[in-house]
């Protein structure tokens, strides 16, 4: 499966949760598949989905799922020690690891070569690190939600993209409706 197929598969699970979604195609795909006020779409700032999600989880009690990519986590690798050392049991970091920079044309990442992000996460001190295959994402994500433990999920999947339009919603509108959903 490619990322968009996984997002389509897990959309019913994501629908009821606060989701911080990575820049570029992941946000565009989630927006097309199931746009919700509970989705915060990143329109820029590669690498910060995990940080924004952690900050949000630490500031309030609702569950937060950050959808990230292997390339974006590599961009902000310092995020993993911060996550490990500031445990928020209402936080799930889901790294969709297709071994490539999808939004820029599927150039290979180091995570698709020698570097194993799940091992990096463990080495950084993250206590619940789960690796799964694309088909099992929904089951693993639901188990992480039910566990009420901070979890890092690394989803191994195929590289590839679908054609879809950019998000034209104003960033302040995205942020404002998201904050209302957080506060509701």
């Amino acid at each position: 499966m490619i990322r968009s197929e996984i997002l389509r598969d897990i959309a019913p699970i994501l629908r009821d949760q606060l989701v911080v979604c990575n820049i570029g195609l992941p946000s565009q795909e989630l927006h097309m598949i199931d746009d919700q006020p509970t989705n915060f779409y990143m329109l820029g700032t590669m690498g910060l989905s995990s940080s924004i999600g952690l900050g949000l989880a630490l500031a309030q009690d609702k569950l937060v799922i950050s959808i990230d990519g292997d390339g974006s986590v590599l961009t902000n690798l310092g995020t993993l020690p911060t996550i490990a050392n500031n445990v928020a049991d209402n936080y799930i970091l889901m790294i969709i690891d297709n071994g490539s920079y999808g939004s820029t044309g599927d150039q290979p990442t180091y995570a698709g070569m020698k570097t194993k992000l799940e091992k990096v996460a463990v080495a950084c001190g993250c206590e619940n690190v789960v690796v799964c295959q694309d088909l099992d994402t929904g089951k693993v994500l639901q188990a992480a939600i039910d566990s009420k433990k901070m979890t890092v999920i690394v989803v191994k999947c195929d590289s590839g993209n679908i054609k879809l339009p950019v998000i034209t919603m104003d960033p302040v509108v995205i942020r404002d409706r998201f904050m209302k959903a957080v506060a509701s």
Binding site: G47, A59, N76, R175
Partner: protein, 168 residues
Amino acid sequence: MSIDKRIVDDLVANHVSFITTVPCKQLAGVIDEVEARPEIFHIPSNNENEGMGLCAGAWMGGKRPAIIMQNTAIGVTINTLATLTQFYRMPLPMLISYRGELREPVACQVEMAVHTKALLDQLHIPTYHFHKESDADELDAILKYTFMCNKPVAILTDASFWGGYGDQ
């Protein structure tokens, strides 16, 4: 009262309750004070981009954030300031150690100091420069202004404000 305590008192009085920091010798006393206050969740960052991401999330979660960093971080965080903090219109007080000003012992620090105000100006970031201790009297008003207008706001604190670098 020490200046460190005064600064953190103003942060607390303005309901700032989520502060991320990177280490700094000049701001070490403020960072210790932040860590000591039960009203504040203190989360050290590995770099300032990450810190601004944490602050964005915390603010959307209902907490008032702040970041404590050095002026070199302006060079690191321009993209984050423009595409996250400003683009989504979020407030962020930035308490900044202004290295490379008068009494600076490390020449390399001057190289970013000469760009600091120009970069902040280019980014249209409201900027306040604390040079004497009495300048900190404005901090309360600066914090109120920041959360009124939902913008990143820079507070540059130079070596003279902190009383120099000691015996370096």
